[in-house]
Amino acid sequence: MENLVYVALFAPFVGSLFAALFGMSQRQIFVGVIASGLLAVSFISSLLLAINLYTTGNVIHVTMMDWINAGDISIPFGFVIDQISVTMMTVVTLVSTIVHIYAIGYMDHDKAFNRFFSYLSAFVFSMLILVMSDNFAGLFIGWEGVGVCSWLLVGFWYHKPDQTREENPSISPSWAANEAFIMNRIADLGMLVGIFILYWNTGSLQYDVVFAALPNLDDAVLVTAAIALFIGAMGKSAQFPLHTWLTDAMEGPTPVSALIHAATMVTAGVFLVIRSNPLYGMEAVAGVSFFIACLGTFVAFYAASMALVERDLKRIIAYSTLSQLGYMFAAAGLGAYWIALFHLAAHAFFKALLFLGGGNVMHAMHDELDLFKMGELRKKMRGTFIYMTIASIALAGLPPLAGFWSKDAIIETAFNEHTYVLWFMLVLTAGMTAFYSFRQVFLTFFGEDRHTALGFHPHEMYKFVLAAMSPLAVLAIITGWFMGGYKAFIYQIGEGVQYEMSEHTHHLATYLGLIVIFVAVSGIILAYFKYARTGKNAFKRNEEKEQGFFYKLLINQYYVPKIYEEYITKPYAMISEVFWTKVDLKIVDATVDNIAKFFYVSGDKTRAMQTGNLSNYLNWMAVGAVVLLVIAAISAMLV
């Protein structure tokens, strides 16, 4: 079994190195095939590990070698395969495998095909380190590793020039890549501080040691550690106010968006909170956990609101990701860790499917993403249409698809915890989610044909690509049916992750579920009437409405990116410039030069004394003697 751990972990790494060997040569299909194959190997190993864990219940813990040893700190490369990590591994490798195969088709015209696979597999490797590591420092390796791979992949089409924010809200791929990296770094500082706090108070960074020592720590320490780690989680999972990078990251190729910015990397923050459940579940940090739940709910609503008016297909899906991450944090914050993890898995499947479907549309429309330029695509792209509808139903949360079970459980949790405001917001957001996901489906696949007039001749994606997507479609449908079985599996881990609804909630569960379904269906119907009809009821763009206050607020993302630019980026550049030209050159350096000049000038001036004329020298000698006498006289008087 131990070998399987290494196989699962290193297969993507080998794939990445292999692809990197051909990184600078012509596109070669076999590079993509081999990388995908190695990912499949990793997936199968993960699955075997999961099955083994399910049947035997034995957590596997391996230590590969030492990494950093200094002073009293000792950090190994160690990996732990427990219920939490194996869930993540299976989800990550499954989605990655499908995305890899998809990318063979999607990237087939790209010159940098081989390089793409190298980055993509390297990303999966980092993600696996992140989830498998048995200590916080190892997690941090993966944490930063996925950050770099994301930087490389978002900026994959680096040759595109910068545009203004009006032309393209993300400016350019390379700009978006830098934004993502830097914003994540801000959060990473929080994460590092959390690591430092834990180390100095528990003497270790190993999960088991740290978690065992938690009950002996001061409340203040626990709270600061919880806050600091959560700041780290906020960056990776794009929670407000560190959320703007996620929508901009849509500049990357679509398979990247599907893999990194929907299914895997952005869930790392949620994973961190779930992994640290012994910390977040403590009495002393209840306030922090509640804050997490509130922030999650807020983000769920906030992101959904922006998706209502967005016209860019990929950005809508990005907002929905943001919103669903909010749901996960709401669940985790309320203590329902396993529900959060389950939603994470279910979301990974249907969101990846949605993104890949979006990629098909984009491929067909020659990279056009404006929904207003599509319409009636269902006849030309039947397979994609079916996939995206399945994914949207799952996202909207209708039974019996995956999203319903997991999201309903989260909403139920909010009710169960008597946080009715959160419950209300989450229900409302569920309605909005249903509305915007179907707005997107209807605008893309139904209604009037708006694309032919613009000269687009869409065509369906390759057959093998559609076939590769099918497992995701199946999973988007059936995952929810295994919620009970998964619960039994994850409960093996111990009390920390267990969460049960109260009797009272249990009784009301059916009604609660019906409310959610009702709200969601209303959203879909509303979207249908607005966007799906043809003929005289067909959707028409209302320019006047787009000048309204709320519309402008939403389409400009509440002006947050603008505020960041005006009040952070620009002042920073300005202050830097002042520091350089005004302070460093004019004050610090000028002082040094002036000191030097003083010696030089005084030397130069006094040189005139050296005339070689004896009588001159005598004069100076007399002056000197007088000065000395005066000094002697004064000091004598003072003493």
Binding site: M24, A70, G145
Partner: protein, 508 residues
């Protein structure tokens, strides 16, 4: 081999003298061969190094002026060992990758002399010998900047020389005073640093002496506000000069703190934590911001180098083994990474004779190999885990967190600000459309450039993944140093502040 260190110090100098009679055409080959032998010798030093011994090894002692206690006294411990190896490595790589064509023979001879002085500084255990090498190292560098530099080279080289020279004179006064005090207390003259260690000085003496040494070292590091010579020096120096300056010469300053200030003045060092930390924070944040404002690639790297030295300084005063070991490791990492970055900037300068970022853009498309290596070094510079930049920075911040959480958070902004200026540099030069006509036909790295950079890439990754072979000996010596400081400290505050590792409380 009893005279191993002497051979290591004087081999390059003797070879440099012989270099005068070598043919001009083969001077470069000769220089690289000598540097390679020297590097091999330093590796041999590592292999024959006793890892379990935290003290001085390969000690050589020949009295020079017995009446004044001046001795030819050399030795190396875990802290200096790797700095020596880095010195010989960077000299070798710098020389092998050098693209200079003017007066190559003179350049080679100068570099070999410089190598002698640098190795000399790191192995000297007698203050006079140390001072001698310390000052001698200025001369070849003065010559390199002044003879091969850019248009402002005379100003830059004189500024470099006078500024650091003024600082070291104050340090010399401090040294003389220590020797004088030693004579007062024991009745014998000695300039041996190990003898000085035994000297327990009153706190006010310690403070004055700490200040005197501080000025000498701080200018060299360079600490804010003594850093303004460095943008000129880097701006005007030829690539090889910048590589050696950033990789090795700056480390002489931080090494001085470890070798002199910490063990000799433990109480003053503890008292100096806050002021030094404040200066270091200014270095980290202020110069990182200045780096962001730069238009010239090389100046970005130059200021970033100052910013990173701030992290090293902070770690030196963490007063625990985590921070101090991290700091020493970071010295090596900074040496290799900033050296490599300067070489990389040199590559583009050789092709375009400009370093302005506005001249570039889209280079990744025409020079992919160059972009990859630059990218790896950039990631190491911003401290990505599994590159050499991470363990040092992580340990320093971890260690200093024990002293002050707030200051650590401020220092930690280095990981953000570093990413900000580095990614901006990368975006401006390598990403975006390839608009400039002149860049379209640029040639990617040639063999010489590739093969001088590949070893650095390999080291950066190797020591990022498995830092143990280097970190362990450093850590041993650092722990011993802390135990020594703790025992020697006379004030309670200092004893409380200096944290001795649990792992050697029982043993050592």
């Amino acid at each position: 081999m009893e005279n191993m260190l002497s051979i290591l110090v004087f081999f390059p100098a003797v070879a440099g003298l012989l270099g005068f009679v070598v043919e001009k055409e083969s001077a470069r080959m000769y220089g690289v061969t000598v540097a390679a032998i020297e590097f091999a010798l330093s590796l041999w030093l590592w292999f024959s190094f006793d890892m379990s011994n935290a003290g001085m090894q390969f000690v050589e002692m020949i009295p020079l002026i017995p009446d004044f206690g001046i001795t030819y006294y050399l030795g190396a411990d875990g802290i200096s060992l790797f700095i020596i190896i880095m010195t010989t490595l960077m000299t070798l790589i710098g020389m092998a990758g050098m693209s200079e064509t003017r007066n190559v023979k003179n350049m080679i001879i100068t570099l070999l002399f410089l190598e002698m002085t640098m190795v000399g500084v790191f192995v000297a255990l007698d203050a006079i010998i140390f001072y001698m090498f310390w000052e001698l190292s200025l001369v070849p560098m003065l010559y390199i900047i002044g003879a091969w530099g850019g248009p402002l080279r005379i100003y830059a080289s004189i500024k470099f020389f006078l500024y650091t020279f003024a600082g070291s004179l104050i340090m010399l006064v401090g040294m003389l005073f220590v020797a004088y005090t030693y004579h007062d207390l024991t009745g014998v003259w000695s300039f041996a640093i190990t003898d000085w260690y035994a000297l327990v000085l009153p706190v006010d003496y310690q403070l004055w002496l700490f200040a005197a040494f501080f000025i000498g070292f701080a200018i060299k590091v360079p600490m804010f506000p003594f850093h303004t010579w460095i943008p000129y020096a880097h701006g005007q120096a030829p690539t090889i000069g910048s590589v050696i300056l950033a990789a090795v010469l700056l480390k002489m300053g931080t090494y001085g703190f470890v070798r002199f200030s910490l063990p000799m003045f433990p109480d003053a060092s503890v008292m100096a934590i806050t002021p030094i930390a404040v200066l270091s924070l200014i270095m980290i944040i202020y110069t990182a911001m200045i780096a962001y404002a730069q238009k010239d690639m090389k100046q970005v790297i130059a200021y970033s180098s100052v910013s990173h030295m701030g992290i090293i300084m902070l770690g030196l005063f963490a007063m625990n083994a985590e921070g101090l070991s991290g700091s020493v490791f970071q010295m090596l990492s900074h040496g290799i990474v900033s050296g490599a970055l300067f070489m990389l900037v040199g590559v583009i300068y050789d092709r375009r004779h400009t370093k302005l970022m506005s001249e570039f853009g889209g280079l990744a498309a025409v020079m992919p190999k160059y972009a990859v290596i630059f990218g790896i070094m950039l990631m190491a510079a911003v401290g990505l885990p599994l590159t050499m930049g991470f363990p040092g920075e992580f340990l320093v911040l971890l260690g200093f967190y024990k002293i002050s959480p707030i200051m650590t958070i401020l220092a930690g902004t280095s990981i953000i600000l570093g990413a900000v200026y580095m990614l901006r540099l990368f975006k401006k030069s390598f990403f975006g459309p390839l608009n400039n006509e002149e860049n379209m036909k640029l040639k990617d790295l040639n063999n010489r450039e590739t093969w001088s950079l590949i070893p650095l890439v390999a080291i950066v990754i190797w020591l990022g993944v498995y830092p143990k072979p280097v970190l362990e000996p450093i850590d041993n010596s650092v722990k011993a140093l802390l135990v020594f400081m703790d025992e020697k400290a006379i004030t309670k505050e200092a004893k409380d502040m200096i944290l001795v590792s649990k792992s050697n409380k029982g043993g050592a």
